[in-house]
Subunit: 259 residues, 2 copies
Amino acid sequence: MQPAVAIANQKGGVGKTTTAINLAASLCHLRRRVLLVDLDPQANLTSGVGRAGCEAPGGTVFELLTADEPPPLDEFIIPTGIPDLSLAPADRHLTGAELELVDLPDRESRLSPFVRAARRRFDHVIIDTPPSLGLLTLNALVAADEVLIPLTCEYLALEGLTELNNTVQRVRAHLNPELKIGGVLLTMADLRSNLGRQVAGEVRAFFDDKVFDTVIPRNVRVAEAPSHGLPVLAYDRGSRGATAYVALAREILAAGVAA
Amino acid sequence: MQPAVAIANQKGGVGKTTTAINLAASLCHLRRRVLLVDLDPQANLTSGVGRAGCEAPGGTVFELLTADEPPPLDEFIIPTGIPDLSLAPADRHLTGAELELVDLPDRESRLSPFVRAARRRFDHVIIDTPPSLGLLTLNALVAADEVLIPLTCEYLALEGLTELNNTVQRVRAHLNPELKIGGVLLTMADLRSNLGRQVAGEVRAFFDDKVFDTVIPRNVRVAEAPSHGLPVLAYDRGSRGATAYVALAREILAAGVAA
Ligand SMILES: Nc1ncnc2c1ncn2[C@@H]1O[C@H](COP(=O)(O)OP(=O)(O)OP(=O)(O)O)[C@@H](O)[C@H]1O
Ligand SMILES: Nc1ncnc2c1ncn2[C@@H]1O[C@H](COP(=O)(O)OP(=O)(O)OP(=O)(O)O)[C@@H](O)[C@H]1O
Ligand SMILES: [Mg+2]
Ligand SMILES: [Mg+2]
């Protein structure tokens, strides 16, 4: 697995934040040191690890992106309750970042220096993004080596894939030639239904071998965990959701070795 | 019911588009003339009624919002396959609208003249919005009389309510004093689970009598319908999803009479 991964899909509610938290926690469970970066003004990632309302010494990701000088790592990182899992937190002021960045010359690559520095200290950097293809998501795609695309097996989620793929190719062509699609993850999957099986088939045809073997089932324990500020592995270790995310982490680590 | 309703919630995947399509189709079933307006660059509303890729004579909502003169109604409206249901379509170029509008003096009220004209011809105008609180959603909130908030009974969806409520109050204070919260709709609800019941309880405590009595159950026929370009009422009239949306339309019409 490449060190820096952006979790992106402009379709809302497909499991971006849930995947960021639970993949990160599973990698920590497998003895990796992980940094989570919250690039969504909803700040669900920050609250999902029990850090709602918390700031780092230098502030949140808003200050990180709008700083004049490249920001020192320690100023923008806080610990979470999970060993080996750190966080660059966000809050709702991040909504204003897009308007602040619009007129800056390097508006798409404000995050890159921070992620480059973070790679030296962490085994993995995982960036959560908002449900849009605006400047915040572009900053994540420019800073990352890979993009992981969560996707529900539903028709409306399928519609946005072409646009997302176009955006990734545009970023590769103009801003970040290293960027590649790390994988497509089927989430909240109910493969017993016709719709689920049909859409899963279309996704595998569109993305071919990039679809992870691991499929995340719909599991209410996954949806309950954020209200306790915990990854599902810490909330209910034996649940189908926790087992699936650990299997995903193992699949990704094995592929990275092969990369 | 007030004539113009914005369907908004910055949380992704809570059923905004699904509610716009199926509430509109249910109102048509009850002999009302309805205009749907697609303000989301994902254009799921446009494809959900079988009009993907279609433009009106004057173009899509992008041209409507960036036009120098107030746009004539007929230039931006197309029929759908459903009697009495018309559409102002969108396409992905709408992503660029936010950057185009940023420097205009009346950037939040570019949609208002169009909706004002539309009210004279239609009984209801329903506006779908993207999962963000940016300029496109602000235009919908300024043009509308009411905002309808779809919400899944999950913890992460609960988190964004305060921010959405703050935005609505800010719009009322500075841009549209008429705007009020028309109602909160519980969608994809599974009230058999603890999480579902717990969150529903918290929503009713937060919004009190504004939560609709009608609750939309999770129903796979609702998720299948958009792949056929049809509202669920036309796709499977007897399904639990179709019945629930017709009940919602009746509840809204009855309340309107009382308003
Ligand atoms: N495997 C799962 N089983 C059950 N519920 C899930 C699962 N994965 C995610 N959820 C729930 O589905 C909802 C959407 O997930 P999440 O918020 O992670 O999506 P997102 O793509 O980050 O949304 P947004 O587009 O708003 O950022 C949340 O309430 C979450 O708890
Ligand atoms: N009652 C329901 N039962 C089953 N599936 C549903 C129901 N309502 C919506 N869905 C499905 O859930 C997904 C999310 O719904 P939808 O796209 O309408 O949400 P949205 O809030 O408009 O999303 P976005 O934030 O991306 O605009 C879709 O795949 C839709 O088909
Ligand atoms: Mg999210
Ligand atoms: Mg939508």
